[in-house]
């Protein structure tokens, strides 16, 4: 795959120069910390709101550590996915629309390397942001709320990593198919929101679908088991690979505008 190393270097540098290496992990960290902190202060906040009659006892069952982490991951599943899709919605189309890609693809490089370098940069950003944010959330949860089951917490996060990766990959694919970045983001987010919704409506029939990942992660963290996950993981991996292959085909057929 000619040009991969050089292109990867360029994507890496672009993530740094566009501040993505800084702000995306920071936002994940904030989302991660806020979950345990807000639960911790919830009784106080209700108290401060002060509409309760004197002597009323507020009794909120204190959530378990696993529940807090599940909540954090849910945030990542929605807002994290939104950020990733919006960050990469123009990955290919912008290079086509502005003409920067034409100048690269006339060089003796492979279109597969062009797409793969973008995918690897996206995957690295997803992995780093999720790891940083989740670590922060975990730390706060243990300090403020209580212990968590390490194995399940790791597995739950891994499922969400896969979820973010498949959303990001499809954003990349749509950016190679469609001219408009907004349409690409909308398609990627719409597809997976619909998939998650359908899977929650028909959990048995769609047990293999990537839409099961969020629910499976929650089950792991709350109940400690989620049944067999291999079909879901395998299908999701296929979706990721398929997205990259389709993007490569699109770039090869239509390198420039």
């Amino acid at each position: 795959m000619r040009g991969l190393a050089a292109m990867l270097g360029k994507e890496w540098l672009e993530l740094a120069r566009s501040w993505k290496w800084l702000w995306v992990p920071l936002v994940f960290i904030l989302l991660g910390i806020m979950q345990p902190v807000s639960y911790y202060f919830l009784p106080q906040l209700l108290d401060a709101a002060g509409n309760l009659p004197e002597g009323a006892v507020i009794s909120i069952p204190l959530p378990s550590g696993g529940e807090i982490l599940a909540g954090t991951l849910e945030q990542y599943g929605i807002f994290g996915a939104l950020i990733i899709a919006l960050s990469f919605m123009g990955a290919v189309s912008q290079e086509r629309n502005t003409g920067t890609g034409a100048l690269i693809l006339v060089k003796p490089v492979s279109p597969a390397a062009f797409v793969l370098s973008k995918w690897l940069a996206m995957a690295a950003l997803v992995a780093a942001s999720l790891a940083a944010g989740y670590a922060a959330s975990w730390y706060y949860t243990v300090v403020l709320i209580g212990p968590v089951a390490v194995g399940n917490a790791m597995a739950g996060a891994a499922l969400y990593a896969l979820w973010l990766l498949v959303v990001g990959s499809s954003a990349l694919m749509f950016s190679a198919l469609w001219k408009s970045p907004a349409a690409a983001a909308f398609s990627a987010l719409g597809t997976f929101a619909a998939l998650a919704l359908l899977t929650s409506l028909f959990p048995r029939q769609l047990a293999w679908s990537p839409g099961r990942l969020p629910a499976a992660s929650r089950e792991l963290l709350l109940e400690g088991a989620a049944g067999s996950l291999w079909p879901t993981v395998a299908v999701t991996a296929l979706c990721v690979i398929g997205s990259v292959l389709i993007a490569v085909r699109a770039v090869r057929a239509h390198p420039a505008d």
């Binding site: 120069r17 034409a102 006339v106």
Partner: protein, 307 residues
Amino acid sequence: MKPLLTAEKLVKSFGGVRAVDGISFAIGEGRCAALLGPNGAGKTTTIRMLAGLLRPTEGRIAFTGLPERSDIRAHIGYLPQSPSFYGWMSGREYMMYAGRLCGLRAADAKRTADELLARVGLAGAGRRRIATYSGGMKQRLGLAQALVHRPKLLVLDEPVSALDPVGRREVLELLKELKRETTILFSTHVLPDAEELCDDIMIVRDGRIVVQGSLPDIRERYREPVITVRTERDEASLEWVKRRAGKAGGPVVSALPFEDGIRFAVSDLDAARRLLLREMADEGVKVARIEAGYSTLEDVFMKAVST
């Protein structure tokens, strides 16, 4: 003439419209060739097929000395009409990136980048971000990045038409230097640019090549006696020009109107002059200027691209 690149019956259709409609040509090694024609003639489409950005609907492109299906991009340096770069990179970083993409090692890429930046006069601006470059600077950076892998053929799409007069001069001078060391094909809609730089010219119109040959050869082949008449803009004169347009006969071979007059290609200069002068006197045409002589390249170009 040993051809470096041959294009055979290239066709490109976009949804039924044949933007390029069977173009064939050969570019001799070491020559400088121009694709000359009005906007929309199919020049850019042809060039983008050569650069590998468009796949020809029909026809083939062959590079001498290379197997049929090998990657000709390694031997072509391409500069689009208005190149876009990553604005967040510096000129030097972009050059090094281009070099690495062409397979240079990091150290070689660095050396080549500095050499070429100096060559196009960007040594001082190399560390500035490209977003701050002017149009002329971007064009020169574009030229430098097209040269990074020492291509056998340089393919340039309207290299000077988007530039101001100063930028245009700079790039033209650079191209004059470059044509001594490499083969160049460029497109333009400006005849003087082609005349200044080129050995060979291909005039394109409606997706076809209508005139093709070396510059002296074209001048010789299409040399014909011409009478040019400019008139006042009064009604009788304009009416006569309109009536005379396209009408041949006798010593007049063709009649082509232009902005403020009409140009006759003739077979016999003396006979035609007598005929036209008498006719204009009879019709009361107010002649501003009449000129008899031989056709210039501009006449050939105008005739080739007008209907």
